[in-house]
Subunit: 399 residues, 2 copies
């Protein structure tokens, strides 16, 4: 039998999926599970987007151009220019989901062994993409005590070497929900200019900013035109994760042409996804107002509820739909499995993502979990009761 | 400005697209172009597939499982078992088009620098995927004189080294249209078992076999269960290139689990593409009968027409919808550009793909072109007239 590759052995399995067999077993036993573990929103996709999909008018389901249809890129440019990104359609490369935006960027920008600095905790799949592209993620620690704010310039400089090629941020952040300030982005600008680094900005959660706070992108910063690559997706903005439509935005022409070669090899993004994505740009503001109100209320319920539980600490983040909370437990991996396997309250339990999967420093996040507030208020409240009861009963409780 | 990667520099641009600027210019000048250069069929997508897309019943456009929905994989297993592949749904991993099936397989199976033997000419994007996965394509020559039959076992053995990890075939072949026989597949079986190699079988054109000939897959061969990986796609079978739905089939469980880790990182294939793909499996036999009749007639028209032109030689292939023809010219790259730039007949011309892009041996295919018979009979005949007139007028004509 031929061997698989070293990369195949090294490739990390999705940490979130480790618990799936226990969840399946719990379901079989008739337990109701509140899923706070995943980023699949329960919010409906905008009607206009689904309407466009269902009324797509083609007889031949054909390839589009590799960079995406002109029509969709024109529309996207309109959308980004409403946000003052000041881009042309030719700065936009449509991808198979945000995932492909990341893999193409990594391959086009970094040589094997070169490094991307990422504040941890970070989106776990960056590890998979980095392994796939044979590049290295250099984590620098952000801390729950200050809500996972950007580490200081000094912290970045400690890990910058000749191999450093880029800094990547996810803003608002998955898993912490942290929304970076203009000052923090200006700090990143300084570092990227000083050390000539790319700045990758994962903006999947751009629309999810709360309490009237502004979203600031590296696209808003001057002098970084050749450095910035934005990774975007329709997944979270329009609750359309299954459409697999994302994009790369960069004003760096050399990089764009390089990324395009990778895009040409895989031919094109999906036709119907682009048709729906184009319609999605016209989603009325009222949709986002409703969604934002809903998420703000959920966040408030969740964060307030968590902090009321003895021994629990949870910062109140400014964006996305996640929080990372510190629990009075010995080991989040063990606890999350225990909640599924051994615990129930009124035949209900909660599924959470152990935060260890979002850190690459061994042992970090051992007593933290990520919770996605993708459930309605009622279910969130019931989930909080389950969690409180679970923590009270858990044998590995630490305080 | 940060540098792009070495891989980005090395990554080949799509050879087919080199001519696009000349085609665009010709169109602007008002010339009608017969596009024989691309594999985008003009055949309509089956109604049932489009109907399923347009009636997809979901309010939340959600992720599916990374390996594809159970429902679609069950249906695919039914389809493959009608072809006697003897597979389970758990042997099937749904991908973003056939392209992703190839990239995931290469990454999961080969270490950097390891080699895949591929008979040339071959599908040009294999070069891009190989560059992306940092693996090496080792070409062995097939010849127009015998219709591009499989090279002998001795030819394979000449290039097998310690670095050889796999053999890849495309069957029926893009670009040659050649349909491999049972004897040829048995020969591949012997080599793969003797040297413990993977056998990658690109079956994008499986349904396009003519003259009553049987399609034989490595899935039909005994004792190769751990060696075979099939790459498939709905693109050509259902004229649904823009759906970006493909799959990997392998009975090798270790490989499947490894490929699944790569699939988990990119989350999931598109939901709506899988819904449509599932419906496509029920496409009535009459659809394929009509398509097959149409393609057979086109092939006959094209091959007969080509061989009637003085100095032209074109084998009559058993499958796919391509032929590679030898022309009485000095340089196919120059000729194909000249046809767009300098030539017209009744204000019409033909766009073809120079075969050089399908060979990796320098200089090979210099007087060959690939022609896709994706036009109706009338247009094909007009294209043949253009080609004949063009060859007569071309300054680089050799005989």
């Amino acid at each position: 039998m031929p061997k698989i590759s070293q990369k195949g052995i090294k490739m990390p399995a999705s940490p979130i999926r480790k618990l799936t067999p226990y969840a399946d077993k719990a379901k079989k036993e008739g337990k109701k599970i509140y899923h706070l573990n995943i980023g699949q929103p329960d919010i409906e996709t905008p009607e206009g987007m689904l309407h466009a999909l269902k009324n797509a008018d083609f007889k031949i389901w054909a390839y589009t151009s590799s960079e995406g249809t002109a029509s969709y890129r024109n529309k996207l440019a309109e959308y980004y220019n409403r946000l003052n990104y000041n881009v042309l359609p030719t700065d936009i490369l449509v991808t198979n989901g945000g995932s492909e935006a990341i893999t193409i960027t990594m391959q086009a920008c970094l040589n094997p062994g070169e490094e991307i600095i990422v504040p941890e905790p970070f989106y776990a799949n960056y590890n998979g993409f980095a392994c796939s592209a044979d590049v290295v993620i250099k984590p620098i620690m952000s801390h729950i005590e200050n809500g996972f704010a950007l580490p200081s310039i000094a912290e970045f400089e400690k890990v910058i070497t000749e191999k450093t090629k880029a800094i990547a941020i996810c803003n608002p952040n998955n898993p912490t929900g942290y929304l970076y300030s203009r000052e923090e982005l200006e700090a990143l600008r300084e570092i990227c200019l000083k050390y000539d680094l790319y700045l990758f900005s994962d903006e999947a959660y751009r629309e999810f900013c709360y309490d009237g706070r502004d979203f600031i992108s590296p696209m808003h910063l001057e002098g970084l035109e050749e450095h910035v690559v934005v990774w975007d997706t329709v997944s979270k903005r329009y609750s359309a994760c299954g459409a697999r439509i994302g994009c790369i935005i960069t004003k760096n022409k050399v990089l764009y042409q390089t990324a395009l070669k990778f895009a040409q090899a895989r031919l094109s993004p999906s036709l119907e996804g682009q048709i729906a994505g184009e319609a999605a740009v016209d989603t009325p503001a009222s949709y986002f107002e409703t969604v934002s109100r809903e998420y703000t209320e959920r966040r408030d319920t969740l964060v307030e509820g968590l902090n009321k539980i003895e021994g629990v600490f949870c910062p109140n983040p400014g964006g996305a739909f996640y929080v990372v909370a510190r629990l009075p437990i010995d080991n989040a991996d063990v606890f999350c499995q225990w909640m599924l396997e051994k615990f129930s309250h009124d035949n209900q339990t909660v599924m959470m993502a152990p935060a260890t999967g979002f850190y690459s420093t061994p042992g970090a996040g051992i007593n933290e979990v990520r919770l996605a507030y993708v459930l309605n208020q009622d279910d969130l409240k019931k989930a909080l009761i389950c969690l409180e009861k679970g923590l009270a009963a858990y044998p590995g409780r630490t305080s």
